[in-house]
């Protein structure tokens, strides 16, 4: 998995993920990237999933873990551009109601200020 971090308006950290978030390949990388941001005081994080091709149960677990660690530090973690298969997985695992999901980046970034 490739990860690119860029800063949006209001200091929102936008993570562009590309590839697979699966066991042994991307799952730990996601956690480490988020932890580094949180430790650096970045608390508003938007994960752009547009180019994520596959996520397995381990990847879902990491996503949940990241959500919990960001929230516990007083921050917010939201998702952008969920591909249909990932949306399906979040639906069957009943996690879709946990995450704030957006289709428009500007709208997603603005939501951190509300």
């Amino acid at each position: 998995m490739k990860t690119t971090v860029r800063e949006g308006p209001g200091g929102v950290q936008i993570l562009d993920l590309k590839g697979k978030i699966t066991i042994g390949s991307g799952d730990v990388q996601l956690r480490e990237t988020i932890n580094k941001l949180v430790e650096g005081g970045k608390k508003n994080i938007l994960i752009n999933m547009k180019e994520v091709t596959t996520i397995d149960s381990s990847g879902i677990g990491e996503l949940v873990g990241c959500y919990t660690s960001v929230t516990n530090k007083g921050g917010k973690l939201k998702l952008l551009h969920l591909p249909p298969k990932i949306s399906d997985v979040l639906t069957v695992t009943q996690l879709i109601t946990v995450f704030d999901v957006y289709e428009d980046e500007a709208e997603a970034v603005a939501s951190f200020g509300s």
């Binding site: 699966t22 066991i23 042994g24 390949s25 596959t54 397995d56 149960s57 381990s58 879902i60 677990g61 990491e62 949940v64 873990g65 959500y67 919990t68 298969k85 069957v92 695992t93 009943q94 996690l95 946990v98």
Partner: protein, 138 residues
Amino acid sequence: MSLSSRFENIEMAQHLCGKLLEPYDLPEETRHWILMALREALANAIKHGNSQDVAKRVHLDMDVVDDDLRLTIRDEGSGFDPKGVADPLAPENRMKTSGRGIFYMKTFMDEVAFRPVDGGGMEIFLKKHLTRDGKKEE
């Protein structure tokens, strides 16, 4: 076939399973979820069964019998009680970071069965009925 307990081997097994599915011209989504179920079973065997001990093998049989895809995955670990795995949909478990692998398999396959193996290890059997248009027969 048998594989060493490395996560990198999962993709090779998925590739071979994909070859087995080719004659069925399945919708991409159906194919994706079958391969995902296989991924979960193999990851379970490597991580929880064999504790990522590369000296231990994961044994995989793949076959299509009467349009049923049959996958058997066996590890060389100490086994586990599948009934002891918590329901990931229960409110108290929903935010846990693990425990969704078996749920994935049960969601995407028609049949999932667990069997402790004599001499140690756990065998997982996965079955999916295949039709030429990829839809389940009524």
